[in-house]
Amino acid sequence: MIELDRVSKRYPTPGGGGKDALRQVSLQLPAGELTFLTGHSGAGKSTLLKLIMMIERPTSGDIFVEGVSLNRIGSSGIPLLRRKIGMVHQNHQLLFDRSVYDNVALPLIIAGFPRADIGKRVRAALDKVGLLDKEKLNPVMLSGGEQQRVGIARAVVNKPPLLLADEPTGNLDPALSAEIMDLFQDFARVGVAVLIATHDLTLIARYRHRLLSLREGRLVADRDADEDDADGA
């Protein structure tokens, strides 16, 4: 589903030279698998997500999404790539000038779905995250956990094959985190490749999924699901 082939990213620094955010990272994320990505802040988690989303481009190496090399995608192809990727943000990135329904419908409107379809899909996604009765509300009236679920509904409403989450449980208490994690596991179960960037070690420990650890831009550990070694973070 996703493959990184010796990907490096160097940000130029004002004093000349540069800072290596990622060094020679190679990995594969198969469909239907949930993977944790962990590491200290500055270890390269966000950079990795940005490279997959084509918010940034790698300095060297290549990334393949569904077999397509991102290096071959020009700037006009970026929107189409992003439609294949659902992104969940720590701070939800919801728009407070419109209803929950309109927030979730946004990716479908952008992708040009027929109107009649949009209603069905939005309600299916809201039903999935348990917020079907809140569709007319403004997201500002929802709790933090509910807002995060709206963000997830928006990320999955057009059924992307890949779901990225950046600290999705960062602001939530353990019970709400568990609800969110259950949702992600459900998506993995139906064949979505799910990558969750987090430094929440209790979360990682509780769910025995594959774990990738970054340290100073290098991939230092790749623990398969059900291995007992919680090294790296």
Binding site: P107, I110, G112, K120, V192
Partner: protein, 338 residues
């Protein structure tokens, strides 16, 4: 949340039941749907842009008024110039040469000269004003009848009024020259010189207005650029989200382009109203003025076509300003800073 372990509910159940394979399928929409959606988004963008303008009436009115005034100024002056040109149009067609003959020329010679000139190709017609006619006319019009009566002799010379066939300045001057060569002629006076001067002045004025129009059109574009820049700034978050969920540049650009167009269009419409109100305002004094000159002239308005063209032109200016702002500032709103 484990209560709901089924995947996304969709109308097509068989998709859901599929075992994990090469990822959940991305739902696709057909070509017609895509075109339909594109058209729909145009409509939505246009309406949404309009709605946003209505949400902030004071700010919108301010911008629209600035645009309207910038457009009404050159449009109004242009209308006035058109009026001046139209009012003096008839004078040009009336161009004629007054040929004063020497006082001792008798009526028969005058008549002969008139018929000889009347046959010239470049002369349309020659009117004969005898000394007696001239005196009678002068007496009637000048109010100096008593003074005339006091004079021992008729002081007025015989006069021929020559209407030329060709009223171009060169032809007139040539004719003036040739008529002046006849021995009976004392003086040939060309009565269109001041009309020519007036037209030259109008020409200069219309050039100045053209320059003014250009400058103010540029001002309109810049006003829209700035307004759209602020709009982009205030919708930064939304733009980032739209880009993250796969919105194309066109999708992001569209509402702003419509906003610029609406600003221009509204400004143009208000400018038309301003010009018409101003014309009404000066209409009655102008009527008074022209009646003093025994003229039937009445003001020409903008005309239906111009009243239509101005708002559309303004809309294009707005679109142009929005395009400039968007192409310059949308790049700044990249999701880099997420």
């Amino acid at each position: 949340m484990a209560r709901n372990a089924t995947p996304l509910k969709t109308p097509r159940k068989e998709k859901v039941a599929r075992p994990p394979r090469a990822g959940a399928r991305i739902a696709r929409s057909g070509w017609q749907h895509r075109f339909h959606a594109w058209r729909l988004h145009h409509r939505d963008s246009a309406l949404d842009a309009l709605r946003r303008l209505r949400v902030t009436p004071a700010a919108t009115a301010m911008t629209v008024l600035v645009i309207a005034i910038a457009l009404a100024l050159p449009a109004g002056i242009t209308v006035l110039l058109e009026n001046a040109r139209a009012a003096t149009q008839g004078w040009d067609g009336n161009a004629h040469l007054s040929v004063f003959l020497k006082p001792d020329t008798d009526a028969a010679r005058q008549q002969a000269l008139a018929s000889r000139w009347g046959e010239r190709a470049d002369v349309e017609r020659v009117d004969v004003v005898t000394r007696e006619q001239a005196l009678a006319e002068f007496r009637a019009l000048s109010g100096f009848g008593d003074v005339i009566d006091a004079l021992p002799d008729n002081p007025l010379p015989p006069l021929l009024i020559v209407y030329p066939g060709d009223t171009s300045p060169e032809a007139l001057e040539r004719l003036q020259q040739q008529l002046g060569d006849a021995t009976e002629v004392d003086l040939v006076q060309l009565d269109v010189l001041w009309v020519k001067r007036l037209h030259a002045m109008l020409e200069v004025a219309s050039r100045i207005v053209a320059a003014l129009t250009l400058a103010l059109a540029l001002a309109v574009v810049l006003v829209v650029v700035n307004t759209i820049r602020l709009a982009i700034e205030s919708r930064r978050e939304e733009i980032v989200v739209v880009k993250i969920v796969g919105g194309t540049d066109g999708f992001v650009r569209r509402p702003f382009l419509y906003t610029g167009f609406w600003y221009g269009l509204a400004g143009g419409l208000v400018a038309v109203v301003l010009v018409q109100v101003a014309l009404l305002w000066i209409g009655s004094p102008v009527a008074q003025l022209t009646s003093l000159y025994e003229s039937e002239y009445s003001l020409i308005g903008m005309g239906f076509v111009n009243a239509l063209v101005l708002p559309l032109f303004a809309g294009l200016l707005g679109l142009m300003g929005a395009w400039l702002a968007v192409s310059r500032h949308l790049q700044d709103v990249d999701p880099h800073l997420l």
